[in-house]
Point group: C2
Chain length 351, copies 2
């Protein structure tokens, strides 16, 4: 693991998009790197706090200008919209940050460093632009035997933006808390910003997705356990290709299904109903069978829409319906999911 430089003082740019859905990157950075974040920049929400906007990040202030943000050496773009383009309203802010000598970090598909105006400004000022989705993956998967002593767990989902990354980070941390040498394998821009390494697989040329994921496994299988961050779902009409390449590229021994309780339909696609959790599990296990045959061993419920009693009822209902451990890693902790992973590891050792 390449540890991110924890000494940076970061300004999170979410201008005009400070809601948890669009600001998924911001929410997760606040959750896992909150100590490095000095301010959130959104002139439409100035005067509020991180907690007000994202339900996480406590009293980190929301400011209207870089001047109000105080000393900082990094501007981090905190949204990841579909298509990933730079909103025009952000251009002056990015240029001003470069003018102050701040590093620019972005997870957008539109690379900041490929923009001639930003590139020229950064060159003049000697500023680094880090486009986290940039990659040069060009290797087809080789499908070698993998180290069987390294247990591979993949988070999968019923939809996009349900909490696969948070579940993966929490699970890896909880496993490390139990003395397991567990490594979080980031596969998306936000995960990479948190972990400091990984591969932005949705930005990889499609021919090389399986290979790019395999490469992450090969580079990290000296660990005892890998928790691979899932992307979207193989049942998703827009992104299924990314998800299946990820599944076959990492060939997991076990999968944790993540869903958001109470979500009515695919995010952004109100005319397309969500598949039932049973269907998602069946589809993943069937497709996994073309490699090593990993099974779903637990369910991570994202219960942010529910009150405490509702969440407990939903948890019990889904546990009974699927016959699998269920927990919201934020609300209930990851204990039940850790036990499911340890039980899988024990079964494999016994086998």
């Amino acid at each position: 693991m390449t540890s991110p430089d924890r000494s940076r003082r970061i300004v999170l740019l979410t201008e005009g998009h400070s809601e948890p859905a669009a600001g998924k990157t911001a929410s997760c950075l606040l959750r896992y790197r909150g100590g490095e974040i000095g301010a959130i920049l959104d002139s439409t929400q100035a005067g509020r706090t991180a907690h007000d906007l994202f339900g996480v990040g406590g009293s980190i202030p929301v400011v209207a200008t870089l001047d109000e943000a105080g000393p900082a050496d990094e501007l981090l773009i905190g949204i990841a919209p579909p298509g990933g383009r730079i909103p025009p309203a952000w251009r002056p802010v990015i240029l001003a940050a470069i003018g102050r000598g701040m590093r620019i970090v972005s997870g957008l598909h539109d690379f900041v460093a490929d923009d001639p105006e930003f590139a020229a400004a950064a060159r003049d000022r000697g500023v680094e632009i880090r486009d986290v989705r940039r990659n040069a993956e060009r290797d087809v998967a080789k499908c070698p035997p993998l180290r069987e002593e390294c247990l591979r767990i993949l988070t999968i989902g019923q939809d996009i933006s349900v909490g696969k990354m948070v579940t993966s980070v929490e699970l890896a941390r909880a496993l490390r808390g139990r003395g397991i040498d567990a490594k979080f394998i980031a596969t998306g821009q936000t995960g990479i910003m948190i972990e400091g390494d990984g591969c932005p697989i949705d930005r990889v040329i499609s021919d090389f997705v399986n290979g790019a994921v395999e490469k992450q496994v090969l580079a990290n299988q000296h660990h005892e356990l890998l928790v691979v961050e899932g992307q979207a779902t193989i049942t998703h009409p827009q992104y299924s290709g990314v998800s299946l390449g990820l599944l076959h590229g990492c060939d997991p021994h076990g999968m944790i299904l993540v869903y958001e309780a109470g979500r009515p339909h695919h995010m952004g696609l109100p005319h397309i109903p969500l598949p039932r959790l049973e269907s998602v599990i069946e589809a993943y296990e069937r497709m996994a069978a073309f490699r090593g045959g990993g099974r779903v061993i637990g369910v991570a419920m994202n219960s942010r829409r529910l009150g405490a009693d509702e969440a407990d009822a939903e948890r019990a209902r889904v546990k009974a319906a699927l016959g699998l451990p269920v927990a919201d890693p934020i609300r209930h902790g990851s204990g039940d999911l850790v036990e499911a992973v340890l039980a899988l590891a024990a079964r494999r050792r016994g086998a």
Copy 2:
């Protein structure tokens, strides 16, 4: 359809790779644009004919140098190796062709026009370099309702390089022969070279694969019928992501399964057995069910390894085992597959 310029006189470059597997592009160009091809350039095979090397293309000569090829205005790179890189031995030939003012057409992942030496030479000589895999796809699928009067057929496969493109071209032609306004939707570099349009989906950024395929459907659904060229297979350990994005992006009403009789294992992966045809069908139908629920309606058998009697026996065996029409489009013609498509169209009209 943008018709390719049929007046060009093409030299097919396959230097050192003149076998049907590596020279898949060459074989298909010889089959479908043979009338425009003046010579094959392979110094290791000079003096032989296209038929000798590829079993197609008749007496088109194999030559050792551009001088021997006679007058020509296009050099077409006729191999598509995994990874798609330019073999170093080809550099002097490509430069010589540019020097003669010949257009360069390539389907490799490594773009010829991005090579500084080739680019400079082409600029100096005013020569066009056409990298067929180049694309700027950046749109996520929108999943609108599609025109239900346009029947969408997708070819799918048990493996790579089994004949999905040939099956698609032959089926579309045979349907047009029956008076149907059928359009071949090319999704790979060779198909695009033959049809003159399409999208190289294995070169699209993975987030946009489903969307790029959907775009091809939207642009062509004024036709009565689309035959969409399949890529790899959703059960393939190296390329499954490409294949699933293609399936969900075009949401076919019917699928034709293509396989090569007698193939022992995944091409290039001797340690990975091929899935049974039944498993491939089940996997595709299950994943198609997350969109419109298309079914497999016929099987195209590639029987190039078999003699005539063996091919007939295999055809009867698979037909009985799967309960589906089976034919080798080259050996037996596409009649049975055309009937299967017309029957599906009739069932849908009746429904």
